[in-house]
Subunit: 454 residues, 2 copies
C-alpha cells in the first residue's frame, strides 16, 4: 500500500528530508512538499552578498529548483501554506484547499526575524532578512535610493547587511543595545569589530536600545527612536535574530523550547507525537557541551538534521534499523566583516559560568602565517577552558584574512572532549605561508595551560 | 649541589629543551648548549622563501638569537661540535676541546639531507637544504647566475626550492624517480601538482631516476645523468629528503630506528640509556594510527618533543612527577606550490593497506567557498577510511587558495579516532565567504560513508 510523507517547508531541512526519503522509499510512496513561497533549497546566508552585488541574482542562491526536485519524483507544491496540523487524524490543512492526509509528517517551517513589539514597528520600510523574498524587498528599497539606512542589531546578519549597504554607497548606521557589537563574542573582540566598522564608514550607536520607530504621514519609517533621540532612517533592516516559525506546531500542541523551537529527539522525532518529525531552523538542538536545548538556526544544522530525519522516516516505513542520530551542536559560527574575519565555537566565558563550569579565559595575539612572511596579518584568539577537567570549552577568533576558519580545529576538539593539553599536542599543519610552528589555536591552548598552572 | 644539563644542537628541539629546563631549574644548575653552527632557533622551513626573496635576510628566520638565549641564563656555545658521547662516564667530547661532563644529556642534532651514493655526488655545486648555512650557499650560487638549475626530488623542499628558483628567473628542472611529483600524496593529486608546475614554467622529468652527476674539468657539476641521458645543470639542489643526524648516537650505542632516528619513549627518554633524552629531527616518532616508529622531521614535532623532554628532565631533577607525554604524530603536512595549496594527514591508500587496514578511498571535487561567490576556487579532497571500523584514516587536499588548511579538521579527527560518520556530523564553520554548507572535509566524509555502504 502506498504511503505518503508530507513535508511542510521547502528550504534546506525540508528538501533534504524530502530528497532523502524519496531516494529510499519505493516509487509508489508519495513525497509531498508544501512550500508557501516560490523557492526551494536556497541559501538564505547568501542574501547579504546578493544585496551587496557580489552575487548577481537570487537564482544563484538556489541550490536546487522546484523543477529539479520534481524531476526526482518529489511533489513540490509552491504557494501552498499549511495552516493547521491534526496529529490525531494525521492531516494537514492548507489555506484555500482540502486537507492533506499524511502517514509521516515533517515540519520544516524555518525561522522568522524577531520583530520587537515597539511603537511604529508595523510602518513601511522596516524589514527583516530571512527569505529570498525578504532579500528582494530590501533590494527594491535600496534601488529607490534611501538617504539613510539603519540596521537594528549587530549579530551576523545585521553586520553583513550593514556592510552590503555601505558597499553600495548608502549612509549606514548600526544600533546595538549591548555596550559593543556582536554580543556573541567576548567584549574585547567585539571592540575590534566595532573599530573595523567605523574604519569602513559604518556609523555605530552601541549601548543604545531602540524604543520605537517614527513614521511619516504616509506611514513610512522616518526615524528610529533611542530614548528621546531620533535617528533619521528611510530604511530599517532588523538584525535582531530570529525565532522558530512554530505557530503551526504550537497550535497542534507540539512541545516547544527555546525561542519557540520544536523539541525533538536525536532522530528528529517530535517528542510524544508519533508520526511527526521536525528539522532545521524551527527546532531546538542539543548543545554538546552543556546538554541544553538551544535554538541555533543555521543551514549546516538544517542539512544534517534533514539527513537524520530522512533516515529515521525511511527506516520507520521500511522496517529497518535507523542509522543516523544528530549529535548536537557546539555553536560554531563564522563571518567576514569589513577587514576582519570573525569566528566562534563552544562557550563564551559567561555561557561557561552559566553552565556550571569554572572557566579560565585567555586571549593571545599571533600572526596568520609565519611572522617573517610578508603577508603576515594579526589575529586574536580567545580560549575558554574548564579549570577542573582542563577541557576546552570554547574559542573565538578575530583577525585578518585566513584567521577565522581555524576555529574548525577547536570545533572538532569540542566534539570529542579534548583538553587544552590535548590541543597543544595535535599534529596540525605547518608551513610558513600558512601558520607559525604553533598553530594559532595551539598558541591559545598553550596560554590556557599556563593559566591553569598559575 | 649544582647539576648540569648539556644539550647537543641549538635549533628548535634543542633550544626548546634548554629554555624549558632553564625556566624550571634553580639558577645554580647549568644549562649548556653545544651548537656547531652559528645560529640558534631558526626556521629551516623558511629557507625557500628567503631564497625566493620573500624574506629579506636569514636573521628574519631566527626566532631567538644566541644572545637572547644567553640573556635567559643558557650557556650557548657556538661553533662547538660534539664528536663523542660516553653514556657510562656521562661525558661529551668536543672537537678541539676538553670533555664536558653532564648530569642529563639531550641529543637534538637534527637531520641532514640525503646525498645518494652516486658517481659525481661530491662535485661542486650539488647542495642539500637543511641549515641556514646551506641556504646561504645556495643563495651565493644563484647570485653567480647559473644557466640551469636542477632539483633532484619532488618532495616539499624540492618543490619549494624549484619555485624559488623559477621565481628568481632561473631555468629550473625537477627530476623525480616516481611516475609523478610528490609521492607523499595520491597519484591523481600529484598529477595536479605536476600540471601547475609546468604552467609555472618549471620543467619536469618524472619517472626518471638519477644515476649520477657529470663534472667538468674543475670538478663542478655540469649535468645530471638519467640513464644514458645527460640533463645540463650548473647547480643541483638535492630534495631527496633527510635522515636523522645520529652518528654520535650510533657511535655511543644508542638504539636507532627508521632513517637513523634515535628511539625514544613518550617522554623523549632514549630507551635503555638513563640520563639521555633526544628530540626533534634526530628521533623517530610514533604514528598514532599504526603505532609504527617513523622518521618525520618537522619543526612542529621538534617543538612539542622539546617541551616534553624539558618537562621530563626538570621533573627528574626536581623529584616531581612529569606532566607531559608526546602522543605521536599523524603525518600532517602542508605546502603552497605555484598556484596550488597542498596538504595531507594520516595514511594514504598504500600506507593504510601496508598497516593492515582495509581502506576505502574516495575523491571529491568541491569549491573553496560557496559556489555562487565570485572568488570560489576548486579543490580536490581524497579521503581514506577503514572499511571495518569506519574510522577516518587519512585525507589529502590539493586546491586553490584557502583549500589546504582545512586538513587540520582531519588531523584533529585522526588524533581522536573519529569515524567518517562522526566527521559528517561535526559542527564546522559555515558562511558563504568561507565554505559551502558542507565543509570540504565533510563533503569527502559523506562520499566515504556512501562508498562504505556500496
Amino acid at each position: 500500500m502506498s504511503r505518503r510523507v508530507v513535508v511542510i517547508g521547502g528550504d534546506a531541512a525540508g528538501m533534504t528530508v524530502a530528497a532523502g526519503v524519496r531516494r529510499r522509499l519505493p516509487a509508489d510512496d508519495e513525497v509531498i512538499v508544501l512550500e508557501r513561497g516560490r523557492w526551494t533549497s536556497y541559501s538564505a546566508c547568501g542574501i547579504p552578498y546578493w544585496i551587496a552585488g557580489d552575487v548577481a541574482s537570487p537564482d544563484a542562491l538556489v541550490a536546487r529548483t522546484p523543477e529539479q526536485h520534481r524531476a526526482h519524483g518529489i511533489d513540490v507544491r509552491l504557494g501552498v501554506e499549511a495552516v493547521g496540523i491534526d496529529p490525531g487524524a494525521r492531516t494537514v490543512s492548507v489555506a484555500g484547499g482540502d486537507d492533506i492526509a499524511y502517514d509521516r509528517l515533517v515540519i520544516a517551517t524555518g525561522a522568522e526575524p524577531v520583530r520587537p513589539d515597539l511603537p511604529g514597528i508595523d510602518g513601511e520600510g522596516i524589514h527583516g532578512v530571512q527569505s529570498l523574498d525578504d532579500g528582494q524587498v530590501i533590494l527594491d528599497e535600496l534601488e529607490r535610493g534611501p538617504a539613510r539606512v539603519v540596521v537594528v542589531g549587530s549579530g551576523y546578519i545585521g553586520l553583513e547587511m550593514a556592510e552590503a549597504c555601505v558597499a553600495r554607497g548608502f549612509d549606514t548606521t548600526v544600533i546595538e543595545r549591548a555596550p559593543t557589537v556582536m554580543p556573541i563574542i567576548e567584549t574585547p573582540l567585539g571592540e575590534q569589530v566595532a573599530k573595523a566598522m567605523l574604519e569602513r564608514g559604518i556609523r555605530l550607536r552601541a549601548g543604545a536600545g531602540v524604543t520605537g520607530f517614527v513614521l511619516d504621514a504616509g506611514g513610512r519609517v522616518a526615524a528610529v527612536r533611542i530614548g528621546e533621540e531620533e535617528v533619521p532612517a528611510d530604511l530599517v533592516i532588523l538584525g535582531l535574530g530570529v525565532t522558530a516559525r512554530s505557530a503551526l506546531a504550537k497550535d497542534a500542541g507540539l512541545p516547544l523550547g527555546a525561542k519557540g523551537g520544536i523539541v525533538v529527539d536525536d532522530r528528529q522525532r517530535v517528542t510524544g507525537f508519533p508520526g511527526i518529525w521536525a528539522a532545521g531552523d524551527c527546532v531546538v538542538s542539543r548543545d554538546r557541551l552543556t546538554g541544553d536545548l538551544i535554538h541555533l538556526p543555521l543551514g549546516t544544522h538544517a542539512n544534517k538534521q534533514g539527513m537524520v530525519a530522512a533516515d529515521s522516516i525511511a527506516a520507520d516505513l521500511l522496517g529497518e534499523p535507523p542509522r543516523l542520530t544528530f549529535p548536537g551542536v557546539v555553536q560554531t559560527a563564522i563571518t567576514k566583516f569589513c577587514s576582519l574575519e570573525i569566528s566562534r565555537t563552544g562557550l563564551g566565558e559567561q555561557q561557561a559560568r552559566d553552565a556550571g563550569f569554572d572557566p579560565v579565559v585567555v586571549s593571545i595575539e599571533t600572526t596568520t602565517v609565519a611572522g617573517y612572511m610578508p603577508e603576515a596579518g594579526t589575529m586574536t584568539v580567545v580560549m575558554v577552558a574548564d579549570r577542573g577537567s582542563r577541557r576546552l570549552l570554547g574559542a573565538q577568533i578575530v583577525g585578518a584574512e585566513d584567521a577565522a576558519l581555524r576555529i574548525d580545529v577547536a570545533a572538532t576538539a569540542l566534539a570529542t572532549g579534548l583538553t587544552v593539553d590535548d590541543v597543544v599536542m595535535l599534529d596540525l599543519a605547518y608551513a610558513p605561508p600558512f601558520a607559525s610552528v604553533w598553530s594559532p589555536v595551539q598558541v591559545a591552548a598553550r596560554a590556557a595551560v599556563k593559566a591553569l598552572a598559575g
